[in-house]
């Protein structure tokens, strides 16, 4: 481990705060938004740039302090990107199924599945 230069420390801090801030705002949205469908959008802040900025901070920090390119955090980001749609689509479709069976008028009129 070597001491981080100032520019790297600033970049790491910037991305960490950006990622953590977006994830926090997403969580606040999850708590405050009214409808279920609106709440589907809030956690994607944390899974998109929230996660990406945190991963970038980690890549910069470990690449410089260990003096070699450390990229394995990017694999985490890749798997988050690929697996989030599965859970979100499952939740969305469950809500849609519930609304259809209760005849709640949220679905567009032409959609008669």
């Amino acid at each position: 481990m070597t001491e981080l230069p100032l520019w790297a420390a600033i970049a790491v801090a910037f991305f960490l705060i950006l990622g953590a801030g977006l994830t926090l705002i997403g969580s606040i949205g999850l708590l405050r938004l009214r409808s279920f469908y609106d709440r589907l959008h809030a956690p994607t802040l944390g899974t998109s740039w929230g996660a990406l900025a945190t991963i970038l901070a980690s890549v910069i920090f470990f690449s410089i302090s260990e003096r070699r390119l450390v990229l394995h955090d990017l694999v985490i980001g890749f798997f988050i990107m690929c697996t989030t749609p599965v859970t979100l689509m499952l939740l969305g479709r469950a809500a849609l199924y519930r609304d259809r069976s209760e005849n709640t008028p949220v679905v567009t009129p032409s959609d008669t599945e």
Binding site: L22, I28, L40, H41, W49, P85, R93, S110, D111
Partner: protein, 162 residues
Amino acid sequence: MKRILPHPFLALLLLIVWLVLTRFTPGQFILGAAVALVASRAMSALEPTPITLRKVHRIPVLLGVLVVDIARSNFDVARLILNGGRHGKRRSGMIEIELETRNRTALALLAIIVTATPGTAWLGWNPRRGVLLLHVFDLVEEADWKDLIKNRYEKALREILE
């Protein structure tokens, strides 16, 4: 070639992931290549149609567009959450978009793009009519969203995959 390597992209991806997770040494390269060969052959039992890429040079362009678009919608949604949805004026809603593609890979990638972009959520795709049901967080102009999905993302994905 096809018999030895039925899913070349999957094998390449596995090898890259293997090397990233370990270290870039010749020994790890050989071990990773062996794992990638065996694992991509095992995939044939699950997925019979391999992916064909047409315009590979469009992939970096699409990725660049995506990083910017996702960042922009992150800030849009974050702002809407913090100011209480323009103080109660925000309206969300469902929209339907008729997609032209029937390519499973293109649809899967479109689902990832739509989900990764805050502000749009994929609710379903009707295979009989080819209609995508989307929930939009801030529905100002329905036509803008249709244009974004169809002309920006679906077009690029079709050029790459079909």
